[in-house]
Symmetry: C2
Subunit: 165 residues, 2 copies
Amino acid sequence: MTDLAAASPLAPARPASSEPPLGFVLVDAARLYRARIDRAFEGAGLGLTAGEARTLAYVDFHPGLRQSALAEKMNVEPMTLVGFLDRLEAAGLVTRETDPRDRRAKIVTLTPEATPHLAGVLTAAATARREATCGFSEAEQALLRDLLLRLRDNLAREHRSRDEK
Amino acid sequence: MTDLAAASPLAPARPASSEPPLGFVLVDAARLYRARIDRAFEGAGLGLTAGEARTLAYVDFHPGLRQSALAEKMNVEPMTLVGFLDRLEAAGLVTRETDPRDRRAKIVTLTPEATPHLAGVLTAAATARREATCGFSEAEQALLRDLLLRLRDNLAREHRSRDEK
DNA sequence: CTTGATAGTAAGGTTATCTTATTATATATC
DNA sequence: GATATATAATAAGATAACCTTACTATCAAG
């Protein structure tokens, strides 16, 4: 351990309890979580990656959105979404239909075939969640979710405001 | 929204408050956080990616470890660490020295040149954290960190037990 | 001194993400 | 209504962060 904090008044105040800073813990946790989810998907025989599954779930929660609006909901660039939708569409799980009010835009919806896949996704996600939150009370689980939502929205807001510059 | 939950008793119980399941929120939050950190690093002129910075911080917290032990601490595969160390070593920020007690193994330590980089990393991480946890009380911030640590350790334990099979 | 495990690494692959440029279409302006 | 500008999706191509598998050097045990 360097003596940085002591050596320099310019060094950031290292939060006493933060051996690994919050961001590192978050990124580590997310990597493990994603790996766990990927494995669960693989085990379930859904031919879906985590990103595709996430897209499927978002379309389910927000059906009928344009791609650009969906990308914004998901906090990814439109081009990132294109890739996910290409594969989901090729698999017959979503449709892209030209918006009659603006023929540049496309409306994304789930096909009926998506239903069992979505069920598999949610089951796998629930399994991973149960494992990840082993030992958590209901309240703790809800608390974690709410804290993460607030954190995500803080960052998303900042991210967006920097885009529209 | 499909009517899955109603339609099938086999469908996972969808936690009432969980529009996006916990895992999705976590993965989204982590992506935004990492992007924010990358931007902060770029802005600070450190020629480091998030993964390299994370490695640097881990070596600072756990100096003198062998690569395999360090990889385990970081919850990545040894080969993933090799890439990070290759670049950090090329940049003159870490050294890999043969362990005299086992000449297969290498001991990783920071060089003196790493000090300012590490300071930059911690400053950037602190900035990102301040932004991400805008509106959080001290207690909430600590709570989030502890919940994430527990979650990470749950997943890491599972991950490890599956390896040694 | 062989035999089998272990530490690091080379080679190569995948996923998720981005940026930049292109095309079609819409909207505003003159 | 012709022209300029903005927007929606996308093609092309890059990068970071992982992983798996196979090889090499070394150790440790018989």
